[in-house]
C-alpha cells in the first residue's frame, strides 16, 4: 500500500502541473468556441508561462519572490500529501496556510490593486473555508458508516471504502461543487483575480507580480486545480476497479460544468458570494451531516 501511495504522490508531482495546464488550455478553447471564436492552441497556457519565465522580473521588493515561492511550494506540498493519502484535515489545513501566502504576496506589495484583490481573496477564503472543513468531516462520517463505527480521516481509507462516499454525501458534494467555483476563480466568483481581461481591479491579487514571480503563482494554481479535482474524484472512489474511471470521468465532467458556468454567469458582489456560500454550506453540508449522524 505504501508503495502505491508514494507512486501516486510522485505521479502528481510530475504530472499535476501538466494536467491542469492542459485543462486550462481546453478551458480556453472551449470558452472561445462558446463565444464563437477559434481560440488559442490547447498548449497556449504552457507558452504563456514559459514566456513569463523568460522575461525580466520586475519586483517591488525582495519579499515578493520569497512569498510567491513559498506559495508554490506549499501548494505542491499540499497536493503531494493528498495524493499520498494522508489525513484529509491535515491536507486542507495545509491548503489554507498556502492560500494565506497568496494574500501576503499581494499585500506585501503595498499597491492599491493588489491590496484590494487581497481583501477580496480573504473574503473568498471566508466564504469557502467552512464547507472545506465540513467536507472533511463528511468523509470521516462516511467511513464511520462503512466500517461500522471506526471512522478515519485518512484519504487512503476514504478512497478504499465499500462504496463511493458520494452515496452518503450527496449534499456535501453539491456544497463542495459550489465552493469549487470560488476556488477555481471562475465567474460568478472570480472576485479577487480573474482569467479574463475584464477585471475592474486590473489583475487583482497578482497585479504587482511579474515575470518569474507571476509564473510561479500560475504553476501553483495548476497544481492547486489538479488537487481540487482530486478531491472531487475522491467522492467517487471505492475499492472496486470501476470506481477509478468513474472518478476520473466525474472530475472531467465537473471541470466541464465549471467552464460552462464561467461563461454563462456574470461576476457577483462579494456580499452575495459570502451569503450564498454560507447558505449552501449550512443547507447542503449541515443537513447532510445531521442526516449521517442521526439516521445512519
Amino acid at each position: 500500500m505504501l508503495v502505491y501511495r508514494i507512486i501516486s504522490a510522485v505521479i502528481y508531482l510530475i504530472l499535476g502541473g501538466i494536467v491542469a495546464g492542459l485543462l486550462a488550455g481546453i478551458d480556453r478553447k472551449l470558452s472561445a468556441r462558446l463565444q464563437g471564436r477559434r481560440g488559442p492552441s490547447v498548449l497556449q497556457p504552457f507558452y504563456d508561462v514559459a514566456k513569463l519565465f523568460s522575461k525580466e522580473t520586475l519586483a517591488l521588493n525582495h519579499g515578493q519572490f520569497v512569498i510567491a515561492f513559498s506559495f508554490l511550494l506549499l501548494i505542491v506540498f499540499t497536493g503531494v500529501l493528498f495524493f499520498a493519502g494522508v489525513d484529509i484535515l491535515l491536507v486542507f489545513l495545509a491548503l489554507s496556510t498556502a492560500a494565506m501566502f497568496l494574500v501576503f504576496a499581494a499585500t506585501s506589495s503595498n499597491s492599491a490593486m493588489s491590496t484590494m484583490g487581497a481583501q477580496r481573496e480573504m473574503m473568498q477564503m471566508l466564504a469557502y473555508e467552512p464547507m472545506v472543513l465540513i467536507t472533511a468531516v463528511g468523509f470521516y462520517m462516511s467511513t464511520q458508516i462503512m466500517n461500522g463505527g471506526e471512522g478515519s480521516f485518512k484519504i487512503i481509507d476514504i478512497a478504499t471504502g465499500d462504496l463511493p462516499s458520494i452515496v452518503y454525501l450527496p449534499g456535501i458534494f453539491l456544497g463542495f461543487l459550489f465552493i469549487l467555483t470560488i476556488k477555481f476563480r471562475k465567474s460568478p466568483f472570480d472576485i479577487s483575480t480573474s482569467h479574463h481581461a475584464h477585471q475592474e481591479l486590473v489583475k487583482g491579487v497578482t497585479t504587482d507580480l511579474s515575470g518569474r514571480n507571476l509564473g510561479m503563482i500560475e504553476i501553483a494554481h495548476w497544481y492547486e486545480n489538479t488537487f481540487l479535482l482530486g478531491v472531487v474524484a475522491l467522492f467517487f472512489l471505492s475499492n472496486d476497479w470501476w470506481s477509478i474511471p468513474l472518478a476520473v470521468g466525474a472530475a472531467a465532467l465537473v471541470y466541464f460544468i465549471e467552464t460552462i458556468i464561467d461563461n454563462v454567469s456574470a461576476r457577483v458582489k462579494w456580499e452575495l458570494m459570502v451569503k450564498l456560500a454560507w447558505g449552501v454550506t449550512i443547507v447542503c453540508g449541515g443537513l447532510n451531516l445531521l442526516v449521517l449522524e442521526y439516521i445512519f
Binding site: 520586475l58 519586483a59 525582495h62 520569497v66 484535515l89 503595498n110 477564503m125 497585479t207 449541515g286 449522524e293
Partner: protein, 653 residues
C-alpha cells in the same frame, strides 16, 4: 497517594510558592523608588520562575497526589490558623468591595459580595466545611498551570516595569502614578493563581478565586476615570455572580453530599452532583468571559496593557478553564456538559465574528481571547479524553501567544503612538523586530504548523467522535472568521511600505526581555509539541479519566508531517532570502493605472489634483458592526444557560 516519607518538604515548598508572590506584593506596595522597584521586580520574578521550574522538574510525571496537610507544629494547629486567617481576609475583601461600591454608588456589587462571604463564613464557622485533611493537591495539570503562571506571569511583571515608565511618561498628569499599587496587584494575582491550582479543598479554592476577582477589579479601575470605574464594576459584579455560584456549589456539596474536595466531587457517582457542577460551571463561565458574561473582558481593556496581558493569558480567564478541565470528567454526556459545550461553541463563533469589525488591536485581541476560550470551554463541556487533550494544548498555546501579542501591541502603541491595526501598516519596514515578534504571535494563534491550529484540528476530530454536529458546524464557521481577522492583521504588518517618518523604537530592555522570552517559548512549544504530548499531557488525560492507554487523536504520521512542514517553511523562507540576493531582479514601483505621482503614496485624482493613497483593511462594519448582534447573542446565551440550569436542577430534584 503521596506518602509522608519526605516529611513536610512538599507542602512547605507549595506553601512557599503560594506565599512568596504575596510577600513580593507587599514589598512592591512599599517601594516608591523606580530603580528599587525595577530591581525588586526582577528579583521576585526570577525567584518565582526559578522556584517553579525546580518544583516542576522535581515532581514531573508523579502520580496525582493529595498532600495531607494536617501537620501540627509543636502543638500549634497551623491549618486551623490559616483557615481563620483566610476568613479574616475574605471579610477584608468584602469590606473593600462594600466601601468602593458605596463610594461609587454601585450597591449591587456590595450585595453580591456580602451574601457570598457571609454564607461561606457561616459554612466554615458552623463546622460544616472542613471535614478533610487534604487541602493541597498536585499533579501534572497543576504543574503545567504553575509553569504558565510563573513563566508567562513573571515575564509580564518584568515587562510591566518598562511599560509603566513609558505609560506615565505618556499620560503625564491625567493618570495618577500608582505604580507601586499596580506591581503589587500583579504579584497578588500570581499568588492567588498558585493558590487556585494547588488547592484541593473547595473553600481554599474559593478563597483564591475571590482574590482574583477583586484584584482584577482593582487593576481595571487603575486609571480611576469614569470609564475605568464603570468597567471595573462590570467585571466585579459578573465575577461576584460567579463567586455566588461557587459558594452555592460548596454549600450544596458540603451540606448534602458531605464532599469538600473538588476531586471527590468529580469522582462522586451521586446523580445530584450535577447541581454543584452547574454552579461551578457558572463560576468558570464568568471567569472565562464566556457569553453572556463576555462584556467584562472587553471593558478590561481600559487598564494598562500589562494587566490585560496578565488577565488574558496566564491568569484570570485560565482559572475558569482550569476549573472546567478539572470537572470535565463529571460533565461527560450529561446536561451540564451539553450546556457548557454549546455555550462555548456559540461564544467561539460569535466572538470571532465580532473580532472582524475592530481596528483597535487590543479589542481584536480581547475578542480573540473570548473566542478561543469558547473553543476550550466547548472541549471541556464535551468532556471526553480527546477533547481534554485538545483543551490543555489550546490553553498552553493560547497563554503564550496571547501574552506575546498583548505585549507587542503595547510596545507598538508606545513607539508609534497608536494601537490601531491600520496604523501598523508596513510595521515590518519600520520596526522589524516588533513586527516579527507580533507575526510569530499571530501565526501561533492560527497558522498551520503552529500549535493552536493543531489543537483546533484535534478538537474538530473529537467533536465528530462525540457526535456533536452543532459544535462541528460552529467550529467550521468560526475557523473561517478567525482566519479572516488574523490574516488581514498579518497582511498589514507585512506590507512593504516605505516609511515616511521613522521614530526611534522606544521599547525598553525590560519589554524586550519579556517579548523575546515569549517569542522563543512560542517557537519552542511548537517544536517540542510531540514530546509535551507524550510526557506531560497524555498522563494528565490518563489520570483524569482513570485510564492508562490514552492516545491523542493525532497519529504519529501526522505529527511527523507537521514537523516536516515547519522545517520546509523555515527552509523556504531562509533559502528564498538567499536566492533573492543572488538573482537579479529589477526594482519597480507600484502599479497605479498610470496615475501615480512617483512616490507610491500619492496619485493624480479626477480633478487633476494630487491625492494621498491609503490602503485600508475590510472591517465589514456595515454588515456586522451593529451592537445588536452582540446583544442578541448575549440574550441567546443567557437563555441557553438558564434553560440548561433549570433542566439540570429540575432533572435531579
Amino acid at each position: 497517594m503521596y506518602s509522608l516519607k519526605k516529611g513536610m518538604a512538599m507542602e512547605l515548598y507549595i506553601a512557599l510558592l503560594i506565599i512568596f508572590p504575596f510577600l513580593a506584593a507587599i514589598v512592591q506596595a512599599f517601594v516608591k523608588n523606580n530603580t528599587v522597584r525595577k530591581i525588586s521586580v526582577y528579583i521576585s520574578s526570577a525567584a518565582i520562575i526559578t522556584a517553579t521550574i525546580i518544583f516542576a522538574v522535581l515532581n514531573f510525571g508523579k502520580e496525582q497526589s493529595f498532600i495531607p496537610t494536617d501537620f501540627m507544629l509543636g502543638g500549634f494547629d497551623i491549618i486551623g490558623t490559616v483557615n481563620y486567617g483566610m476568613l479574616i481576609v475574605e471579610f477584608i475583601l468584602m469590606g473593600i468591595i462594600t466601601y468602593l461600591s458605596f463610594k461609587y454608588k454601585k450597591y449591587y456589587a456590595a450585595l453580591l459580595s456580602i451574601v457570598q462571604t457571609c454564607f461561606v463564613a457561616w459554612l466554615e464557622l458552623s463546622g460544616n466545611a472542613h471535614a478533610v485533611n487534604e487541602y493541597l493537591f498536585c499533579d501534572n495539570l497543576t504543574l503545567i498551570l504553575c509553569l504558565m503562571i510563573a513563566v508567562v506571569g513573571g515575564l509580564i511583571c518584568v515587562y510591566a516595569v518598562g511599560y509603566l515608565k513609558d505609560y506615565h511618561h505618556h499620560h503625564g498628569a491625567e493618570v495618577k502614578d500608582r505604580r507601586s499599587f499596580f506591581c503589587a496587584m500583579l504579584f497578588v494575582f500570581l499568588g492567588a493563581m498558585f493558590g487556585i491550582v494547588f488547592s484541593a479543598n473547595l473553600i481554599w479554592m474559593y478563597f483564591f478565586w475571590e482574590i482574583t476577582s477583586v484584584v482584577s477589579f482593582l487593576l481595571i479601575g487603575y486609571t480611576k476615570t469614569k470609564e475605568a470605574v464603570d468597567n471595573s464594576f462590570r467585571a466585579l459584579w459578573m465575577n461576584l455572580l460567579g463567586g455566588v455560584g461557587f459558594a452555592i456549589a460548596i454549600g450544596y456539596a458540603a451540606l448534602k453530599l458531605h464532599i469538600f474536595n473538588l476531586a471527590d466531587l468529580v469522582a462522586s457517582k451521586d446523580p445530584v452532583i450535577v447541581i454543584p457542577l452547574i454552579c461551578l460551571a457558572l463560576a468558570a463561565l464568568t471567569k472565562s468571559a464566556q457569553l453572556p458574561f463576555s462584556r467584562w473582558l472587553m471593558g478590561a481593556m481600559v487598564a494598562p496593557t500589562p494587566s490585560s496581558a496578565l488577565l488574558h493569558s496566564a491568569t484570570m480567564v485560565k482559572a475558569g478553564i482550569y476549573l472546567l478541565i478539572r470537572i470535565a470528567p463529571a460533565m461527560t454526556g450529561n446536561l451540564v456538559g451539553l450546556t457548557v459545550a454549546l455555550i462555548g461553541g456559540f461564544t467561539f463563533f460569535v466572538a470571532s465574528i465580532r473580532a472582524i469589525i475592530h481596528t483597535d488591536g487590543k479589542k481584536v485581541l480581547a475578542y480573540s481571547t473570548i473566542s478561543n476560550l469558547g473553543l476550550i470551554v466547548a472541549c471541556c463541556g464535551v468532556g471526553i479524553d480527546e477533547t481534554i487533550w485538545a483543551a490543555i494544548f489550546l490553553m498552553m498555546f493560547h497563554c503564550v501567544s496571547k501574552s506575546l501579542l498583548f505585549q507587542t501591541v503595547g510596545s507598538v502603541e508606545h513607539t508609534t503612538g497608536s494601537r490601531n491595526i491600520e496604523d501598523m501598516h508596513g510595521l515590518i519596514k519600520r520596526y522589524p523586530a516588533l513586527a516579527i515578534a507580533m507575526t510569530i504571535g499571530i501565526a501561533g494563534m492560527y497558522l498551520a504548523p503552529f500549535g493552536m491550529l493543531i489543537s483546533k484540528w484535534s478538537a474538530l476530530q473529537a467533536f465528530v467522535d462525540a457526535g456533536n454536529i452543532i459544535l462541528v458546524l460552529l467550529l467550521a464557521f468560526g475557523s473561517a472568521t478567525t482566519l479572516f481577522y488574523w490574516t488581514k492583521w498579518i497582511s498589514k504588518l507585512l506590507a512593504y511600505a516605505r516609511p515616511t517618518i521613522r521614530r526611534k523604537d522606544t521599547t525598553s530592555l525590560d519589554q524586550w526581555i519579556s517579548i523575546g522570552g515569549h517569542t522563543v517559548m512560542m517557537v519552542a512549544l511548537c517544536l517540542v509539541f510531540p514530546f509535551l504530548s507524550n510526557s506531560l499531557v497524555n498522563p494528565i488525560v490518563n489520570s483524569l479519566y482513570g485510564i492508562d492507554n490514552f492516545k491523542p487523536v493525532l497519529s504519529d504520521e501526522n505529527l511527523f508531517i507537521l514537523v516536516l512542514m515547519i522545517i520546509i517553511l523555515a527552509l523556504v523562507i531562509v533559502a528564498g532570502f538567499v536566492i533573492t540576493r543572488l538573482v537579479k531582479t529589477k526594482q519597480t514601483s507600484v502599479y497605479m493605472s498610470g496615475i501615480d505621482t512617483g512616490d507610491e503614496r500619492h496619485y493624480v485624482g479626477a480633478f487633476d489634483e494630487e491625492r494621498t493613497m491609503y490602503h485600508a483593511n475590510w472591517y465589514l462594519s456595515d454588515m456586522i458592526g451593529t451592537d445588536r448582534l452582540m446583544n442578541v447573542a448575549t440574550a441567546i446565551a443567557a437563555a441557553g444557560l438558564i434553560i440548561g440550569a433549570v433542566l439540570t436542577i429540575g432533572g435531579v430534584l
